[in-house]
Symmetry: C2
Subunit: 475 residues, 2 copies
């Protein structure tokens, strides 16, 4: 049994283990093991992400080890990462001449190679991505999928362009790709431009996707960085323009980690377990024969027929013909978030019917087995997706409020996102952070559906013209 989801921190801790996402018992803090079930979910979620990336990017793989000499080249970048880099000092019994960093992110592994790959304007844009493990020496409280020492599934894309504007166009494309990805997961989000003091080390600016977790804290689930020519200058990456000049490239990079799965679990799940959108569920449909003495054969015949039929349609279907009583079977598959349950008892078997129910509803419906067509199942899946999306949006809207005074913001913090107006000065931002006891996430570029607020207003600190900003406690 899980703790109630209202006790989110414990619920999360337990569901990760019990729904067999990750085994949290690995003997090093901040490192976890992907169970087979969790790995299947990961594969489906990252399959979607790859599908989106593959349209305009090439997948590549760069080494996990970065020499200190490269990692240290970009001043802002190394300053941002030096406290959390794992250093390899020894190979076997030998001390290494040049220390090697375990990649915390791959700019400094990739860009020395970009210098070799890019010669002329014809080589641009260059758009690549990789899905890799990256490492951060986290000293804060670690949590599976959220704050890890080995991020096992970091999708990082890196691009090069002819100038600032073309790179900015790509920032917009990246944002729209990430929107498509999170829409497919029915996860709502804010699109927020991080304040100056919180941008990616080495970036010109950073745009983040934030969602709200059930406990009211926000979770950053994706970032898109415009790097301008900052790294190009450091790594001396130039191209020949059509006019024969040599110019620095402009770059972007953007990443999504397994936090996407953390949000999927946390936002849709309930007191009894996971709730997974149909397209991402490792088991999409469970067939449960209700076996009464003397009627086993009748029921199993129909159940097998239904199973085979669904299987042949290409659905990921599982049959639970174990000896457990129905309640135990329901409980098990609810825990794993199976979207569609099909029960077949003797009465149903006799009349060629089945009882269907969806994981996110309490409703049972009797249908004729002929109604189990590919089209009808896809339609039901879309309806369920829409219900999940709607529910998640409602919950996010409830946790988001616009305020005009510091005292109201202070009271709200911990419950969700406070929206308010801030001018662009760092002083006002920092004062708000210290008064509210929470972080300024930045200027809200896009609100989730159902949340409305004007984009412009008076700075809550100084009264000068300001922009809509989000303030919250974050993971």
């Amino acid at each position: 049994m899980l703790p109630p989801k209202s006790n989110f921190s414990e619920w999360y801790h337990e569901i990760i283990q019990h729904a067999q996402i990750m085994d949290i018992r690995y003997p090093v803090k901040g490192l976890y093991v992907w169970f087979p079930f969790g790995f299947k979910l990961r594969k489906l979620v990252y399959g979607k992400l790859r599908e989106i990336m593959d349209r305009e990017h090439d997948e590549v793989y760069f080494p996990a080890l970065i020499p200190e000499t490269e990692l240290g080249k970009e001043g802002q970048h190394i300053k941002g990462f030096e406290d959390e880099v794992y250093w390899i000092t020894h190979g076997g019994m030998d001390e290494l001449d040049v220390k090697l960093a375990l990649r915390p992110t791959s700019e400094t592994a990739m860009y020395p190679m970009f210098r070799l790959w890019i010669r002329s304007h014809a080589d641009l844009p260059l758009k690549v991505y990789q899905v890799v493990n990256v490492f951060r020496y986290e000293t804060k409280h670690t949590r599976p999928l959220i704050r890890l020492r080995e991020i096992t599934s970091f999708k990082e894309a890196h691009t090069a362009h002819r100038n600032y504007e073309e790179a900015e166009e790509n920032v917009k494309k990246a944002i729209s790709s990430y929107k498509e990805f999170y829409d497919s997961l029915a996860i709502p989000y804010f699109v927020i431009k991080r304040p100056e003091w919180d941008k990616f080390p080495g970036a010109d600016y950073t745009i983040a996707f934030d969602t709200i977790m059930p406990d009211g804290r926000t979770l950053q689930i994706g970032t898109v960085h415009h790097l301008a020519d900052n790294f190009a200058k450091t790594f001396d990456i130039k191209y020949e323009t059509p006019e024969g000049d040599h110019a620095y490239i402009h770059q972007t990079c953007y990443g999504i980690s397994e936090r996407c799965i953390a949000s999927l679990i946390s936002i849709h799940g309930d007191d009894v377990g996971l709730i997974l959108p149909f397209d991402f569920a490792p088991h999409q449909i469970v067939v449960i024969p209700i076996l009464y003495k003397g009627k086993e054969e009748l029921v199993m015949n129909v159940a097998n027929r239904v199973y085979d039929r669904l299987k042949s349609m290409g659905f990921r279907v599982v049959m639970d013909d174990s000896d457990d009583r129905p309640g135990a079977k329901y409980y098990r598959w609810e825990l794993f978030g199976v979207p569609l349950r099909i029960e077949i008892g003797p009465r149903e078997a006799e009349s060629n019917e089945a009882v269907i129910s969806f994981r996110d509803e309490k409703v049972k419906r009797k249908i004729s087995i002929e109604e189990l067509t590919e089209d009808s199942i896809k339609t039901w899946a879309e309806e369920m997706h829409e219900r999940l999306r709607r529910k998640a949006l409602d919950s996010l809207a409830e946790k988001t409020k616009l305020f005009e005074s510091i005292s109201e913001i202070k009271e709200w913090i911990g419950k969700g996102v406070a929206l308010t107006y801030l001018c662009s000065s760092t002083e006002c931002g920092e004062e708000l952070e210290s008064l509210a006891g929470a972080g300024v996430l930045g200027e809200v570029l896009e609100l989730p559906e159902g949340v409305e607020a004007e984009k412009d207003g008076s700075c809550v600190i100084c009264g000068r013209p300001g922009k809509l900003n989000a303030i919250a406690k974050s993971y």
Copy 2:
């Protein structure tokens, strides 16, 4: 232009870079970058390997970092790896309390968890695998795909069974899986039981797949280990038997690295580039319109029609309608190993015909475009596979010879594999190694097709009864 393949070492070095498999210019010895094309090839090859593994194994992911305390538990194991483990000593500015090893292989990451996963006989067999990066501090000459400091694509499977015999059954299954995999790549192999002194550290015995590279040196392209209860005793992994007793599990593990791709490139390639089996070629078919002035439209119409037709059949097809002259086009796609080339000039376009040729043959054939059906292409692909297989087998047979005297063996070493008979004593094995100046690969369990030799004979050193052994210089 590549150096001739007869100069194998340079040819290999150049083809890896020029055919865009890996970029060898990364600024750390023994680390390389997968280019987009190389990564596509990797994805196809590992897709096949995963397909085979998925039938009976669950995919999982275990952490890359192993605490010194776990890695050091199994005495033989740590002795085998201690010279080549990368040690992480610092996180940020802090020295770590317990040093962390970058996994050289994952027994000691997995088995402490197996101890928690396995309770009863009902949990057995347990069969998992992962495809991960592993790290070895190689001090010898490094080489892309062959000897690396980061093995980027290590497929390692780990299984647990009730007793020695059931584990041995699984060793046989693993061998047959690996045979299926290498057969699909048209790579011939010996199946060889490694001598005692060369088995995996911690194993009861090791069986390896060895192939012969064009320069006559062997390449180990897969290993299967019976671990007996060696690790189970170290990590205290017991299960409850049906009778209620507690017994140690017996284990196996088996691995394949990106050496599978090294063998694919080396064995099939020729002086002008890669030759890839149809199923694994990132580009399976190239359509080359031969454009003459005034006839462009006619030719392009037919070429586009052919391209669309092949695309709709699901083939990975590319159109080269660049302005390059035909020779340059041929050269480019030959380098990338495209199996099927379709040329369409004005004459062909007029008569609704095309000229087809296969990468491994010098033959051109004119066919009617209607003959380009899914079935005929699949048949041609199978014929090409058979030609590649046959050619590789012939070449391997030429490089393999049975000898009865040390002097003959000595003369042969460097040209290929010397077969001879050895008794089971370590002394005779070591003496042969020192006399022949090459390594004893071990007892040959299976010879490649076309190589014949009796399994039993007199030991070439002492004359006592012996088994057929293979001796060679290896990568």
